[in-house]
C-alpha cells in the first residue's frame, strides 16, 4: 500500500468517526440513517483498498443502498424525530 492511499484512508477514517458521532447525537433519524449509509459507503471504499472488490460491491449495494432504503421506509412509518 503506498502512502497516498494510506493518507486517503486516514482521511476517510476521520469521516467514519464523525459519522458515528453524528449517528449517536442526532435526534433526527433521517440524519442518523444517512450517517449509517455514509459509513457503509466508506467501508466499501476500505474494502476496495484492502483488495476485496467482491465485498466492496456487495457492501455498496446492500449496506449503503438497500439497508438505507428499508430503513427509510420504516422511518416513514415510525416517525422522524426521536422524542415522541
Amino acid at each position: 500500500m503506498n502512502s497516498l492511499i494510506l493518507f486517503m484512508a486516514l482521511g476517510l477514517s476521520v469521516v467514519l468517526i464523525v459519522g458515528t458521532i453524528i449517528i449517536y447525537l442526532s435526534k433526527d433519524l433521517l440524519v442518523a440513517i444517512l450517517g449509517s449509509a455514509v459509513i457503509s459507503l466508506i467501508a466499501s471504499i476500505f474494502f476496495l483498498i484492502l483488495q476485496a472488490p467482491d465485498v466492496a460491491i456487495t457492501e455498496a449495494a446492500i449496506g449503503a443502498g438497500l439497508t438505507t432504503g428499508i430503513l427509510l421506509y420504516a422511518m416513514k412509518k415510525t416517525g422522524r424525530y426521536e422524542d415522541d
Binding site: M1, T78, D84
Partner: protein, 117 residues
C-alpha cells in the same frame, strides 16, 4: 504511517461505537442502527485480517499467467455471507419495530414496559 492502526483502529472504533449506540440508544431504530454499525465494523475487521502486504485481489484475469501474491480469499467469502445475514436481521428487526410502533404507539425503549421482572 501505520496501516494496521488505520484499518484495525477504524474497524474496532466502529464496533465500539456500534455497541455503545445500541446500549444507550432510546429509539428502537437507533438501536438497530447501532447493530448495523457494529456489523460493518466487524466486517471491516475481518477483511483487514485477510489483507497481505503487496497482495492483489484474488481474481486471475490473465490465466494461466498466475500472479501468486494474492490476499486471503476466505475472509472475503465469509464477509459476503455476513453482510447478507446482517441485512436479513435488519429487515426482521424493522418489521418488529414497525409493529411495536403500531401496538404501543411509541418507539421509545424506556416506554416498553409490558414485561417486568
Amino acid at each position: 504511517m501505520d496501516a494496521g492502526l488505520i484499518f484495525y483502529g477504524s474497524a474496532i472504533f466502529l464496533m465500539v461505537m456500534g455497541v455503545f449506540i445500541a446500549i444507550t440508544g432510546r429509539h428502537l431504530i437507533k438501536i438497530l442502527l447501532g447493530i448495523d454499525v457494529f456489523d460493518t465494523g466487524l466486517n471491516l475487521l475481518i477483511v483487514s485480517f485477510g489483507y497481505i502486504n503487496g497482495g492483489t485481489a484474488p481474481i486471475f484475469s490473465k490465466y494461466p499467467n498466475i500472479f501468486k501474491n494474492v490476499v486471503d480469499p476466505v475472509p472475503q467469502a465469509l464477509v459476503l455471507t455476513a453482510i447478507v445475514i446482517g441485512v436479513a436481521e435488519m429487515a426482521m428487526g424493522l418489521a418488529i419495530v414497525m409493529q411495536i410502533k403500531e401496538k404501543f404507539g411509541t418507539c421509545n425503549i424506556a416506554k416498553l414496559k409490558e414485561l417486568k421482572w
